[in-house]
């Protein structure tokens, strides 16, 4: 079912948590919502689920308008068939694990035995079948989170909202469940919205990524698009691009940094209003001194398993982050290095995007 | 505590009965020529106060103590509760040597007997003792306790609902079919006074009368007060009633009238005695003296009791005149009766009224 959100606003008392948000999620599409803590992700989801009364805007699911501020129409949440995994789990402490999971099925008038069977299946999927009869409050954090997930999965809703559903799980479990979720979502053609802070998760699950900042969507696109060309410096920063520098002056293919006596070459001419340049740490090449590029000193060197993260202070310039493959030629702290940045990897960006992305980008 | 300036004190001074003509305190306390206390006792009593525990009606006790205060100038403090609770408390306090009361008044001869056995009552002879001894059932165990007065039990009606010809006059009138479903009675097991009534009815009119009364389908109550209230509102129109409390309600404005049937009224005891604590209390002694004096007994009569002291001039209770204690019309349920017949009486009554409990 397609979910269309138009100009949605929500305020808590005087505080505006969502401000004129527009978003369309295509039928069967999986959107990942990425955004800073407190930017309004949970609030948006709660509006879609019908748990908050928005202060403005319109939401429709499929062909039904479920909320319209204009007409005052508001469909109660239990009629929306929207599943949600709560950030706070909201597992019912007075029920057992399996009772928790059976609830949505029972609400759909599934017979007790059938519901139980189905619930056990889902529990097996999340690895909790052995705890089915345990009281739901007698679980570890991660187990509770899985109960919450299982409950929503058992429901088979037409729209599924997942608010950091895997945040308290270990990497392996998370990966398994992520794959499982994607599988179910694609198989059933489930329209879903997913909040996560894990980029891996975002990239693996998203058909499109929506970047949310200060209560509205500021960029919307496929993972590759968002990753490759963030719409603003702040989005770039958010996407893990740690090297973002303010631009002082730009002339043709050359930009001068504002705070440092350093200029960089870009592949394309810097557009008007360009305010920052950014480069991904993976695109920064660090070699032992003497090679081409800017000279500097390694200040931090962190081993990260398959890669090494450096911070190199360029002579008379900024400190640059770099991620290089781990290998025999690694540099130690204090060593001199030379840093190279390819012009094509340099992104020239405005500081912020003020208008929401054009809605014609939206997939049907 | 005490009743202070309660409305009772006004009523006690004038409305119920005018104050005695002479109260002389020049040499002890002498009221209308009868000596209540000598000089020394009075002096001590004025510094003291009476602590009275009573199981009789609150309103009549309020009136009595207000009158006592007015006539003697001695302070008095009342603790009132239903007889069975009172008995429990008195026995317990006595057992623990903490009995605060100087005088204890109860409405059940069996309870009084028990008090006497346990030593709650100690012998005391008021100045009128010799007079009192002349009557039957007035002095017990050589003065260990006394009958203060008798409660009379008869019937009455709602004067707003029943008038003229309809007014019942004799006990037999209660069997009139027009009262079917409109009668009220308190069940015979609810206390000494109602057991006495049942015994009187059985004795005077036979079992047949009682079963016919039962067949009238009267409303059965657990307590007198609730019944009185129902009668005042007209919920029931005729009921068997305690004379004193009903008269009190009538004076207070309730549309009630009492009947003093010629074919007899039932009487039960109001007993009192001095306690060990009262032995040391001059005020307590004065209270007993006063209660048994002519003045005290008259006041009781004016409230709707039958005086225990023999040989008094009849005192009317408002428009009514109760028979004296020694008349044929007055049927007493004596302590011996109570001991021997209570259970069987209650049982027959219960059968007649199809009452369980």
């Amino acid at each position: 079912m397609q979910v269309t959100i138009t100009n949605l606003s929500l305020a808590y008392g005087g505080f505006a948590a969502v401000k004129g948000l527009d978003l369309t999620i295509g039928d069967g599409e999986s959107i990942v919502l990425l955004g800073q803590s407190g930017c309004g992700k949970t609030s948006t989801m709660r509006c879609i689920a019908g748990l908050e009364e928005p202060t403005g805007g319109r939401i429709s699911i499929g062909d039904t308008v479920v909320f319209d501020h204009e007409t005052g129409r508001s469909v109660p949440s239990f009629r929306r068939n929207v599943g949600m995994v709560f950030q706070s789990y909201a597992v019912w402490p007075h029920k057992t694990v399996v009772e928790n999971v059976m609830f949505p099925l029972r609400m759909k008038k599934v017979r007790r035995t059938a519901a139980r069977e189905k619930a056990m299946e889902v529990l097996t999927l999340v690895g909790l079948d052995h705890l089915a009869e345990r009281g739901a409050s007698q679980l570890s954090g991660g187990q509770m989170q899985r109960v919450a997930l299982a409950r929503s999965m058992a429901m088979e809703p037409s729209v599924l909202l997942l608010d950091e559903p895997l945040s308290n799980l270990d990497a392996r479990l998370r990966e398994d469940l992520r794959v499982e979720l994607r599988h179910i979502q694609q198989e059933r053609g489930l329209t879903s919205m997913y909040v996560t802070h894990d980029q891996q998760e975002a990239l693996a699950l998203a058909d499109r990524i929506a970047i949310m900042q200060g209560g509205r969507i500021t960029q919307l696109g496929t993972p590759e698009e968002v990753y490759a060309s963030p719409a603003s410096a702040s989005i770039a920063k958010f996407m893990g691009v740690t090297n973002v520098f303010a631009v002082g002056e730009a002339s043709g293919n050359e930009v001068h940094l504002a705070d440092h006596a350093l200029s960089l070459r870009t592949a394309v001419a810097a557009p008007d209003g360009a305010a920052s340049v950014a480069v991904r740490p993976e695109d920064v090449v660090v070699r032992t001194e003497g090679s081409d590029g800017f000279a500097g000193t390694v200040e931090v060197c962190v081993y990260q398993g398959s890669s090494v993260r450096y911070q190199v202070a360029l002579d008379g310039g900024p400190t640059v982050d770099a991620v290089c493959p781990a290998g025999p030629g690694a540099l130690a702290r204090g060593e001199r290095a030379s840093v190279e940045i390819a012009p094509e990897s340099l992104l020239v960006l405005p500081d912020e995007v003020t208008d929401t992305p054009a809605q014609d980008e939206v997939a049907a | 505590g005490g009743s202070g300036q309660s409305p009772a004190s006004e009523a006690a001074r004038n409305e119920v009965l005018p104050m005695p003509a002479q109260i002389d305190t020049s040499n002890g306390l002498v009221i209308d020529g009868e000596k209540i206390a000598d000089k020394q006792l009075l002096e001590e009593a004025k510094k003291d106060k009476v602590v009275l525990y009573s199981g009789s009606g609150k309103e009549s006790e309020d009136l009595t103590i207000a009158r006592f205060k007015a006539e003697t100038g001695i302070d008095i403090e009342l603790t009132r509760m239903p007889t069975n609770k009172l008995s429990e408390r008195v026995l317990s306090e006595h057992g623990a040597n903490q009995l605060g009361a100087g005088v204890v008044r109860v409405t059940d001869p069996l309870v009084a007997e028990q008090f006497a056995e346990r030593g709650v009552y100690v012998p005391y002879k008021p100045p009128s003792y010799d007079e009192l001894k002349k009557g039957d059932n007035v002095v017990f165990n050589d003065g260990q306790y006394l009958t203060a007065y008798y409660s009379a039990y008869a019937f009455g009606y709602n004067s707003a609902a029943v008038q003229g010809e309809d007014v019942p006059k004799k006990w037999a009138d209660l069997l009139d079919p027009k009262w079917k479903g409109k009668l009220g009675v308190v069940h015979a097991g609810a206390g000494g006074t109602v057991t006495a009534l049942a015994a009187f009815q059985l004795d005077a009119f036979g079992e047949d009368y009682v079963s016919k009364l039962g067949a009238q389908q009267p409303r059965i109550f657990d307590t007198t007060s609730v019944q009185l209230e129902a009668l005042a509102r007209g919920e029931i129109t005729v009921a068997t009633l305690g004379f004193n409390s009903t008269y009190g309600a009538e004076v207070a404005g309730a549309p009630l009238k009492l009947v003093v049937p010629e074919d007899g009224i039932s009487g039960s005891f109001n007993l009192m005695g001095l306690t060990p604590a009262g032995e040391k209390s001059a005020a307590a002694k004065v209270f007993i003296n006063w209660t048994m004096s002519q003045a005290g007994q008259k006041f009781a009569a004016a409230q709707g009791f039958v005086p225990a002291r023999p040989g008094l001039e009849p005192t009317p209770t408002g428009e009514y005149q109760l028979p004296p204690a020694d008349s044929e019309q007055f049927h007493l349920f004596t302590p011996e009766d109570a001991a021997q017949r209570s259970a069987s009486t209650i049982q027959s009554w219960n059968q007649a009224f199809h009452f369980t409990g």
Binding site: A49, P93 | K58, E59, L78, S92, S225, A232, R233
Partner: protein, 586 residues
């Protein structure tokens, strides 16, 4: 605060090596619970012990004549004719009136705690107000309203030419009045529990397809289960033992109940106190079993709603049901408060209690407000009002504190004594007040402390008698708050006592205020127990009013006094109500 040592969830069946005697002695754990158990047992078990002794001894074991000649003959009371029918009647009344009270209380509690019903403060008051009316006054007022011949309602309908008779002297009437006047217990307990609800849990039901009704049924009410079961237990036993309402409404309708039966036993001459005690002991056993059962049911699950992940106060929007539901609350107000009070006021101002038609009131002189003035001028009334307020405030405060300590020990610690503590605290619930009053009398007479005859003894007695109410009130809120919150304060350097004071107590504010309020009102109303303990120096209001009603003749005065009494209770309830309203926000 005693030094209660807290440890979460007990690993009791854990494969422990058998603890050696020495080891146990070194453990500080649970020591704090011993003095507490001692205090509670002293307050409750000594009087109850007397009752037990009375049940099985030949003579009534009052001071001065305590002996241990035991006998089982008093058990014969159970085969007395009428007991069975009275018991069945009492059960029917008890069960249906309890359901009614839970329904009313639950509805009002939910409406005020969780919805946007109009004038919530006022609706809260509606839920509370019947507490201001002692049940015997309420019953009398209702007998004036609904008696078939002279009831005001029936007179009114006759005036209007409606051919319908309300008969309050019926099973229906008894159940209605009992249910209405006991609903506030359920209301207060459930209100505090529901205001601790975590809306996320309810929301989860909504998004998973549960309609509002299903949400209530499977989340909201089950989570309030400790409060519901607790109040059901309280309400049921109270109704089961209630004498005045039975006396005023059931007896005239020839409906026998167990309390009237016990009353007759006590009132028989000679008094059959032993047999009444036997019945009390049986009731104690039943209540203890029920308490145990309740504990079992609740122990298997968790009812924590206040957690450290935030608590977003959210009220359910009633939509177009707002006003209809408000109207239902108003109907309750009308039946439980307005009509009875109006009847009382009418009685107080009417010069003649007899009335055929409302037009009688238009007659000159039919109405006189003097009775109010007379009451307010009476020393007795003023003295007893003063005493009542002092006794009620002190005993409610002490009772709340004690209940909190017990509740905390029982539900938050692993103290060995906690089962015993809860059991003992529930005992007074089971013993009919009239019998317990005797036990208390004996206890405080034999105690070698000069308390008998003072206000203090009334306070102590009230604390003991109201222990079950206090404990249930506190327990349900304790069970709603997550222990992690308090533990966290301890971790951050607070002593346990400090953590309780700055975290647990504020979180339970609503529950504590409700408990205090309930105990305050109960102490103002308590009648039977003080009847054994008051003296002329320690007159209290409930007794003064009871005396007035017992007088028969002083009905007008009694009614006026009751109305003023209600007003005093209303004023007195202001502070705890202030504390108890509002949500969880800082």
């Amino acid at each position: 605060m005693t030094t209660v040592q807290t440890r979460p969830a007990a690993p009791q069946e854990a494969p422990l090596p058998a603890p050696s005697g020495r080891r146990r002695r070194r453990r500080p754990k649970g020591l704090g619970s011993l003095p507490l158990l001692f205090v509670v047992s002293f307050l409750i078990l000594v009087p109850a012990g007397f009752v037990l002794l009375a049940a099985f001894s030949v003579d009534i074991p009052r001071p001065g004549s305590i002996n241990f000649d035991l006998t089982l003959q008093h058990l014969a009371v159970f085969i007395e004719p009428g007991v069975l029918r009275a018991t069945v009647n009492s059960l029917i009344i008890g069960v249906s009136a309890t359901l009614l009270a839970l329904l009313i209380g639950g509805f009002l509690a939910f409406a005020t705690a969780r919805t946007n019903i109009p004038m919530r403060g006022f609706v809260f008051l509606i839920g509370l107000m019947p507490l201001f009316l002692p049940s015997y006054v309420g019953a009398l007022a209702w007998s004036q309203l609904g008696s078939p011949v002279a009831g005001l309602l029936n007179i009114g309908m006759r005036d209007l030419g409606i051919d319908f008779t309300v008969n309050i002297y019926s099973m229906f009437g008894v159940v209605l009045v009992m249910g209405m006047f006991y609903a506030p217990y359920a209301f207060l307990l459930m209100h505090s529990s529901m205001s601790l609800m975590n809306p996320d849990l309810e929301d989860a039901a909504g998004v998973h397809g549960g309609s509002t009704w299903q949400m209530l049924r499977s989340v909201t009410f089950p989570l309030a289960m400790p409060a519901i079961l607790g109040s059901a237990l309280l309400v049921f036993t109270h109704i089961f033992e209630n004498f005045p309402v039975s006396q005023v409404l059931a007896t005239p309708g020839q409906i026998d109940t167990l309390p009237t039966f016990i009353y007759r036993l006590m009132n028989a001459s000679p008094s059959r106190g032993n047999e009444a005690a036997v019945m009390a002991v049986v009731l104690v056993i039943v209540v203890l079993l029920v308490t145990l059962g309740q504990r079992r049911i609740l122990a298997r699950r968790s009812y924590t709603t206040v957690s450290g992940k935030g608590l977003k106060a959210r009220r359910i929007s009633l939509g177009r049901w707002r006003w209809p539901l408000f109207a239902i609350a108003l109907v309750y107000l009308l039946l439980a408060i307005v009509l009875p009070l109006a009847a009382l006021i009418l009685t107080a101002v009417r010069t003649s209690p007899y009335m055929q038609s409302f037009s009688d009131l238009a007659v000159p002189g039919a109405i006189d407000f003097g009775s109010f003035g007379r009451v307010l001028q009476s020393d007795l009334f003023l003295d007893s009002a003063g005493n009542s307020v002092i006794v009620a405030v002190v005993s409610a405060a002490a009772g709340t504190l004690l209940a909190f300590l017990v509740g905390y020990t029982v539900y938050r610690t692993k103290a060995k004594a906690r089962g015993a503590l809860e059991g003992v605290s529930m005992v007074p619930l089971a013993i009919p007040a009239i019998v317990l009053g005797m036990g208390l009398l004996w206890t405080w007479l034999v105690m070698p402390v000069p308390l008998y005859g003072t206000l203090a003894v009334l306070m102590i007695a009230f604390v003991a008698v109201q222990m079950p109410q206090g404990l249930r009130g506190i327990a349900s809120s304790i069970q709603s708050t997550e222990r992690d919150l308090e533990d966290n304060a301890v971790l951050h350097g607070a002593r346990r006592s400090r953590a309780v004071l700055s975290i647990t107590v504020p979180l339970m504010r609503v529950g504590i205020a409700s408990t205090f309020l309930m105990l305050l009102m109960l102490s103002m109303r308590e009648l039977t127990v003080p009847l054994f303990l008051y003296t002329s120096d320690t007159h209290i209001l409930s007794i003064t009013i009871f005396d007035q009603f017992e007088n028969g003749g002083a009905l007008q005065q009694a009614a006026a006094m009751s109305v003023i009494y209600c007003l005093i209770m209303f004023v007195l309830s202001y502070l705890p109500r202030r504390l108890g309203s509002g949500g969880m926000n800082p």
